[in-house]
Symmetry: C2
Subunit: 341 residues, 2 copies
């Protein structure tokens, strides 16, 4: 049988004081409530001796604060998210908060269910989320309006919100610009469809604007829409077909890391040697192993650590300032190009 946990009352009885007093001292409010130094010491030492640790549920029930922050991402196994998660957690730990990470599996229903559980129940004090949702409708619900939410990676254009994102437009613009400078005139961009996600639409905009800058007309043919549910197969089919068509493409630019790995698989499978064919390969999102993969990858690297840190702090800030509603905070961080050659 498990040993009985030490309770506030147990300490109180041992010392012949009230549990009120013990609670106050343990929460560091001894001075504020005028508990004598001597008593405070007694309580603290006895608490240590008895290995007291407060019941988080009782505390959360009474105070309405759990000191838990939720992080909701589409897929925790995606290194983009898992790296952000790591840094969010580190930052929060330093501030006495714990992180609860959940994957939604790109499933809107599951996302909404988790938000209901976490946020509406106040299981967490704040939420950091890379949403899979198409619209802000769900987040506009009465119950969520005043809940501290920080969007990362993607935001919903139809609602006002706090967010921390990379400058997707700028990154994509610069990458396209670089490709053009390297002589590319026929850059095939691969996008996910449906692509209502802000980060992707902005990357496309950056791509198009860079083309325009150099008077290169945008061709519908050069924006390949890949079905989200079937990335691997769809890339394989469409890319194979496109590679045979003329005019020949001189660069392939995938709009996220999933598409990049899917392309690499296809290259591998059909023995496509990008270098020999004179095709540059580029991708938004960097993965450290890109350093060693066979076709050189020119990539846009997002500041994962900074995104994590900023998101964590913004969430804490929102929690603290609950009432003093001083408008929405929008953080847009610069990306950097990694041009391997």
């Amino acid at each position: 049988m498990a040993i009985k946990k030490t309770l506030l009352e147990d300490i109180a009885k041992e010392l012949n004081v009230s549990k009120t007093l013990v609670s106050m001292v343990i929460n560091g409010k001894g001075d504020a409530y005028g508990i004598s130094k001597k008593t405070q010491e007694k309580v603290l030492s006895k608490a240590g001796e008895m290995e007291y640790t407060p019941n988080v549920f009782a505390r959360a029930l009474r105070t309405g604060k759990s000191h838990l922050i939720g992080l909701l991402v589409a897929d925790i196994s995606n290194p983009f998210y898992s790296n952000i998660a790591k840094h969010v957690e580190k930052e929060l730990a330093a501030k006495g908060y714990n992180l609860m990470i959940c994957s939604t599996d790109e499933n809107v229903e599951r996302e909404e269910k988790l938000i209901s559980l976490f946020a509406e129940q106040h299981m967490i004090d704040g939420l950091i989320i890379a949403t899979t949702n198409t619209s802000g409708e769900f987040f506009n619900k009465e119950r969520l309006r005043n809940f501290p939410i920080v969007f990362i990676d993607r935001y919903l254009p139809d609602i006002e919100s706090n967010y921390v994102v990379a400058n997707n437009y700028q990154g994509s613009y610069e990458l396209t610009d670089l490709l053009i400078h390297k002589g590319c005139k026929n850059i095939l961009a691969l996008n996910i469809t449906p692509s209502h996600i802000s980060s992707l639409t902005e990357r496309i905009k950056g791509y198009k604007d860079a083309l325009t800058k150099y008077d290169i007309p945008f061709k519908e043919d050069n924006l390949m829409e890949i079905s989200f549910n079937n990335i691997q197969k769809d890339v394989r089919e469409k890319l194979l077909k496109r590679l045979k068509q003329s005019p020949k493409i001189d660069a392939i630019y995938t709009l996220n890391n999933h598409l990049a790995t899917a392309c690499l698989h296809v290259f591998n499978e059909i023995g496509f040697d990008a270098k020999k064919e004179g095709v540059l390969f580029a991708s938004f999102d960097d993965i450290n192993l890109f350093d060693f993969v066979k076709p050189n990858v020119i990539s846009v690297s997002q500041p994962l650590e900074q995104i994590g840190i900023e998101a964590a702090n913004l969430a804490l800030q929102l929690i603290d300032s609950k009432n003093s509603d001083s408008g929405f905070k929008k953080v847009v961080l610069p990306t950097s190009i990694i041009s391997r050659n």
Copy 2:
């Protein structure tokens, strides 16, 4: 101001019944407690109408169950762990449990602190952990003895425990065997130090035993210990030196994926072309991008999905069987060799 949450009492008042009744119905115990069908319907429809969702803390406080499982790993950004995490979560979600993922940053103190918070406080109902600890002492504490804990990836040899791990010995043995079959006689193994971790010691054992099988004497020189705190730099220094020494090595075998990427970096940096030099490159742990990296990687792939699923179910099983202590469950899963060529 946030809208007031609907409470059990609110529903009870609306319907002129007791909150006891409402609670019973909402928990699906209406029949068991003999609440009439008609009343049950009324309650459920009113609860839906008022968007009632129970307060998780009040419930957990009373019942002692949080329906939360904790997952503690050294580094969530390591694809090995993040992939397991994904599958654990998926499996648990199907059973009505939520997962709380935390990284310990390979820090024993932080690990112990988190376990205290999560397990001793009963913040979670069960724990799945890839421990960083060196000994089982901490887990032998009175308070933890009866807590449902499932070790993954690594277990502590000095205590009895439930665990789900890959067959590290077998995987390493087979990989070494394969290298020998491919003609290697001088296989340099790179290990992490300090390496008290069960998975690593077993991999070394597999490596040595395979050598023995073919009467290849094990040379201390061929087991390179890399400092955990400084992997990149240490690999660089030691590998550079070793590559110059004779007898020349004909294979490099890294004992985990961190070491593999560190080696790849060094190869890249110094322009070491493994193929040309006639050196095979192998690693325990597979990363999907290994398919495209320049020196072919022969790897041991662990069944991540299976580890996740088994660990989740074992944890749930332990929670359910609390008292019927039917000994410790040990699950060892087979690995597979991925021989790229």
